[in-house]
Symmetry: C2
Subunit: 232 residues, 2 copies
């Protein structure tokens, strides 16, 4: 939190939690199998080569992961939920689905999902304005800033904050098109396996939402863990 | 169409229909009541003062309008469908709803809608890659380029192409979250009235989609008409 710098803007990277100081490495590269923790309320970026797999583990089970991906070397190409909805013809995604970029190129395939498969591709990342509207006072950690800080920590400046793939987020859409903000149905130890269809920078935020039940009915944000597995 | 410049990129303003040469005025300003036609397959940008209303008329009834808005003087603030879905708690919009920006500020209120109210806020604008996937050869007019060209025509360069408000586009979402690409249910002469909640540049594209029935079962893109009415 940066005292005195108000109002915080959803257009600026003005958060200051440890995300910006603790990248997994200077360029986001890691070695296969090395496990990294994303502390509660923080974010991390990781370089994933085409064909490699990124495993994201949900130790407590109730924690949402806001997930983003940028094409390596071409950060204007981003994983895009609106293009993915068009490509898949549906508003949900699950194992077997390939998520595409704003160039409509395959970027991330969901190859394994141990949870019941409830994820969200409709809702914007939380940001300063979201928490202000919910009644937060002062700065509140948020996924939009975690996205920008995780990238800043490895020397990348994104053009904007794209709409995220909200892993384990449970936003059921009713027959009338209205939806509810409900707790995840994932369980402790669930993981999801994502295969990079092109070399990407993947960004994950352990969503700091503690004013609605999207991270569980106890509204207690928790950590996430991730690692890379090499492709065959 | 620019021969020899391939591949066209969804990241570039590389279209060349008349949109880029025929702005309604050098800065997009107009006088109340003056009617402007958006020829089939083209786009236009218009300056709308806070409190004024933008009326968009669908003469043939079956034509979709991809609609966008940027904050005047601050084009990084854009009308955002993902933030609007969050604000409204639903995946459809209709008369009485206020659409918000990526700063979660009110931007556009739908104050009147003579159609049955079927619009889309889920699907990305068509672009070169979309038409390639549908089998088009060479360049095909598209809403992403129309958005960029309409802005270029009045001297504005957008940061990216946001997810559009697809007026009259009929993409029914089924109980299983899958949707269909179907013809509009609007009728000839329908119009929609949008009130600017802040001073905006509004961009409209008469969607050139002629390879799916989103612009009617005859897949014949048509013109749109718009004008401004001063607020009370």
């Amino acid at each position: 939190m940066t005292e005195g710098r108000t109002p915080h803007s959803p257009l600026l990277c003005d958060g200051s939690n440890a995300t910006v100081r603790n990248p997994i490495s200077p360029d986001g590269r890691t070695v296969p199998g090395e496990r990294h923790t994303i502390p509660a309320r923080e974010g991390r970026a990781v370089h994933v080569n085409a064909g490699d797999r990124l495993l994201i583990l949900n130790p407590k089970g109730h924690q949402v992961c806001d997930f983003f991906a940028l094409a390596y070397g071409s950060p204007a190409e981003m994983l895009s939920m609106e293009h993915t909805r068009t490509a898949l013809g549906k508003v949900y995604v699950g194992a077997g689905d390939t998520l595409v970029s704003n160039l409509r190129r395959p970027m991330i395939e969901i190859v394994e999902d141990t949870s019941p498969g409830t994820h969200d591709i409709l809702i914007a990342s939380c940001d300063h304005a979201r928490y202000q509207k919910l009644g937060a006072e002062g700065y509140h950690d948020n996924c939009a800033d975690n996205f920008r800080m995780a990238l800043k920590a490895i020397g990348i400046e994104p053009i904007h904050v794209p709409s995220p793939f909200n892993i384990w987020m449970n936003i059921p859409v009713g027959k009338d098109g209205r939806y509810a903000w409900t707790a995840p149905v994932s369980k402790p130890g669930d993981h999801i396996t994502l295969e990079a269809k092109q070399t990407c920078i993947c960004i994950m935020s352990a969503c700091p939402q503690d004013m609605t039940p999207v991270n569980g009915i106890d509204t207690e944000p928790a950590e996430l863990v991730f690692w890379i597995e090499e492709g065959a």
